[in-house]
């Protein structure tokens, strides 16, 4: 059985969870200013990497909360899970600067 570490409940069986697709997608601040190409990319175009992928997960049959997870799509191993609005620990202090999460609407709401 695959165990997923919910940030609130700890290790729980995979069947209690639902995947919500790619994480850290910021809604454009001015959707009206975008052309069709950029808007459709925001809506529909997602990464499909072979390797580490940042995803949103929902502990649907548990605490009901959304959180983010880094998962290796090859091995299905969960590298880490972290609450909404945060960046992965493995990224902090690295080359990538953490995004200002407050302007990511979907995450600020969670």
């Amino acid at each position: 059985m695959l165990l997923i570490a919910c940030p609130y409940c700890g290790n729980r069986p995979e069947t209690e969870f639902r995947c919500g697709g790619q994480a850290h997608i910021a809604r454009p601040e001015q959707p009206g200013a975008l052309d069709d190409q950029n808007w459709s990319e925001y809506l529909f175009v997602r990464k499909n990497p072979r390797g580490v992928h940042a995803e949103r997960w929902n502990h649907a049959h548990g605490c009901g909360r959304w959180f983010n997870a880094l998962r290796d799509t090859v091995t299905d191993r969960f590298i880490e899970t972290y609450p909404m609005g945060e960046r992965p620990r493995s990224e902090q202090g690295g080359a990538t600067a953490p995004a200002a999460t407050s302007d990511i609407q979907s995450e600020a709401r969670a």
Partner: protein, 188 residues
């Protein structure tokens, strides 16, 4: 002023008959009042029941209990006659704080599962680790049993005593599932 307000007695969808496969008692619970409380902060208490306990634990006793199911979600159970009382004291205890208190008495059905091998029986359909270390007395969580979502509560005491709370429309499925699972205990 009428102190006691009457509530329509509810029919119990599962009846009262107790099943005892392999020494595990599967007993539909009596009608009970239940509430779902959503509030952001965990300060204070509601009608004497504490809010600040860790996530996935239950406090109180068998009659009046409060289970914290998530960071901001609680399931509260009280005797049916105290339903109005709880709502009144919640209004005063939580005055001035944004919260929602929803009466789900008619939505939920309780089944008590008790006996030395109750954890084995539940594990027929529940993927959680119900061992003493992972799910000690006083634990409570939402999880799955077979295809149905349940809230599983482990009461205090050394002997395993569980309460399975499910939605009314799943109740016959959950009840039959438990009874059938009891037939397989001790085999293989």
């Amino acid at each position: 002023m009428l102190e006691v307000r009457y509530r329509t007695a509810r029919t119990l969808p599962l009846g009262r008959v107790e099943a005892r496969p392999a020494g595990v008692a599967i007993r539909p619970a009596e009608a009970e009042a239940r509430f779902v409380l959503r509030i952001r902060s965990t300060e204070g208490e509601i009608a004497g029941l504490p809010l600040n306990r860790p996530i996935n634990t239950v406090s109180g006793d068998d009659r009046r209990w409060i289970a914290r199911l998530g960071p901001d979600e609680w399931l509260i159970g009280v005797p049916e006659g105290e339903a109005d009382l709880l709502q009144t004291s919640a209004a005063s205890d939580l005055a001035g704080r944004a919260h929602s208190l929803v009466d789900v008495s008619n939505r939920n059905v309780g089944i008590d599962v008790e006996g030395a091998r109750a954890d084995e029986l539940l594990n027929a359909g529940c993927p959680l680790d119900l061992g003493e270390a992972a799910f000690p007395a006083g634990s409570a969580t939402r999880t799955l049993l077979g295809k149905a979502e349940i809230v599983l509560i482990r009461r205090a005491g050394a002997q395993p005593r569980y309460r399975v709370e499910c939605w009314r429309s799943f109740a016959t499925y959950v009840h039959d599932f438990l009874k059938e699972a009891g037939l397989g205990i001790g085999e293989g």
